[in-house]
Amino acid sequence: MTESAAHTKPVIEVTDLTTAFGTHVVHEHLNLNVMPQEILALVGGSGSGKTTLLNHILGLQQAKSGSIDVFGRPIESYQGRDRVALTRRWGMLFQSGALFSALPVFDNVALPLREARYLPEDLIREVVLMRLAWVGLSAQDALLMPSDLSGGMIKRVALARALSLDPELLFLDEPTAGLDPQRSDEFVALIKALHDQLGFTVVMVTHDLDTIRDLATRVAVLADKQVLVEGTITDVMQTKHPFIDAFFHGERGNRALGAATS
C-alpha cells in the first residue's frame, strides 16, 4: 500500500462543490483533497457545513453541482455491487454512535463482518473480541445493550464497529465529543496507534483543539462557504481570518496549542 502510483493520488477529491438548501448556500465552489494515510481535520464554525460535506462524501446527500471522487471514481458511479464493495473499504464513527439499539454490543461490532459473508463465526468472535479489547472493553461488556452504555462506552463501541472491517478510510464525526479529558486523550492515542499500525486514512470533523494538535497531520478550515486554508496546524495559524483568530488564537487556543507554535 505504501509504494505504487496510488500513493500520490488523493483518496478523496472534492472539486468545485456547491450545495444549497433552498436559498441557503452552504458550500460554494469548494475544493478539498484527502491524501492517503493522512489524518485530515475538518474545522469550522457551527453551520459551516462540515457534516454536510461529510454526507456528500459518504454519498448520503446529493450536491447541487461539482464532483466528488472517492478512491479515484465519482461517488455516484458506485452503484449496486460496487457500492457494497466501497462501503467495506470505509468506516464511519457517527457523532452519537448510531449503534443499533436492538442489538447487543457484540452483534453491533460483528454486523459488518457478518454482512461480508463467508467469514466463519469463530473467527468473527475472535476479531470482535479483539476490536473490543483494542477500545478497552471486556467480553462482559460485549453482552450489554447500547441503552446500558455510558456515552464514552458508546463512542468506543462505535469505533470498534467502524474498524471491524479494517477500513482504508475512516470518517470520524466529533470523535472526542462527550468524553472526559482522560478518556478523550486515551481515545486520541488509540486512534493514533491504530492509524500507525493499520495505515488508514482519516477524515475527522472536530472542535477539540487537543484532538487536532495530537492527531491531525493536516487541517482544513471551512469558512465563507469554502475551504479557507489547508495545511499543517502552523500554516493554518499563520492565516489571518476572523474565524481562525477566534478559534486558534483565543485563550483556549493558546492554552491548547501553545506548545505547537512555540
Partner: protein, 375 residues
Amino acid sequence: MLEPDAELANLAPLTHEHGVWRVNGRWNVQALAAPGVVRQRRKALKSVPHDAAWALDDTLRLDSVGAQLLWDCWGSRLPANIVFSPAQQRLFDMLAQADTPDKLPAPKSDWLAWVRQIGDGLVLGAHHARLLLLLLGGLALDFMAMLADPRRAPFKEISAQIYRTGAQALGITALVGFLIGVVISYLSAQQLALFGAGQFIVKLLGVSIVRELGPVLAAILVAGRSGSAITAQIGVMRVTQELDAMQVMGISHGQRLILPRVIALAIVMPLLVLWTDVMALMGGMLAAHYELGLQMTWFVQQLPTAVGVTNYWIGLVKGVTFGAWIALAACHFGLKIEPNTESLGKGTTASVVTAITGVILIDAIYAVIFSEVGL
C-alpha cells in the same frame, strides 16, 4: 488501489521453500470473506510443523483479521523463527498486547424457560393492569384539576387530536362501514328471502349495526390507526428525551399528553360510531334494495321503530368508553417504551393488541350488564 491487489490475488497465500514458510498475497478481510477461503487457509496453516521458520512477504496485504487468523493458528504467540516488516510486527504486537479474553460468557440454558415465561407473562399482565389503573386514577385527578380551572385546559391540543383522530379517520371508517353493511345485508337477505321474511332485514341490520357492529368496527379501526400513532409518538418522545425534558420543566405528562388524547378520543369516538353506523346502514340499504327489492324510503321509515332509541344510546355510550380506553392503553404503552428501536416496535404492537382485545372485552361486559337490566 485496486490494481496492486489484483496482482497479489494471484499469488499463492502460503508457499514453502528452503525450509521457510512464506506468507504472500492478500490476507485481508476482503480476500478472506470469499467462500471457503478461511477454511482452506486454516487447513494449509495446520499442516505446517510447529517449529517451522516463517517469513511474511513485504508486499503482503495483511490486516488485523488476517493477522488474527495467523495468530490463532500459531497458538496465540509469535513463532520463534520469523521474518517480518516493522509494520507487520506492530500488528502482531497489538494482538499480543490486547490479550483478548478468550470466551464470551455463555448464555445459560434453561430447560424450564417456557414455564417461567408463563409465570412472567402473568406477572407482566398484572403489572400492566396495575399501571393502567394508576394511570386511570391519575387521569381522573387531572380531569378534576382541569374542571376546577378550565382556563388551563389544553384546548388546543384536544382540538388538534380531534382533527387527527377524528376528521382524518372519516374516510377509512366510511369505506369499511359501507362495505361491511353491504356484506351483512347481502348474506342475510339471501337467508331471509328463503323464508319470505325479507322485511325483517331492517330490524336485523339496524340493531346489529347500531348496537354492536358500528361501535366495535369504529373502535378497531381507531385502535389500529390512532392508538398506534399515539404510542409511537409518545415512545419517540422517550427516545429523544422529550419526556424527561417535560418532567424537568415540571410539565405533567398526565395533563399535557394523556388527558388531551383521552378527552379527544372520548369525544371523537361516539361521532365516528354514528358516522360508521350511517355508512353501514346505507350499504345495507343499497344491498337490500337490489337483492330483495325493498324501497329505500320504506327502509328509512322503518328504521326508527326497528332500532329504538335505547340501542342508539347504547352504541354511543360504548363509543365513549372505547375511545377513552384506546387512548389510555396507547398512552400507557407509549410511556413504557424504552429508548431503543425494538422496544418501540414491541410497544406499538402491544398497544394495538391490548386496545382491540380490551374493546371486545368491554363490549362483552356491556352485553352482560345490559341484558341483566333488560335493555
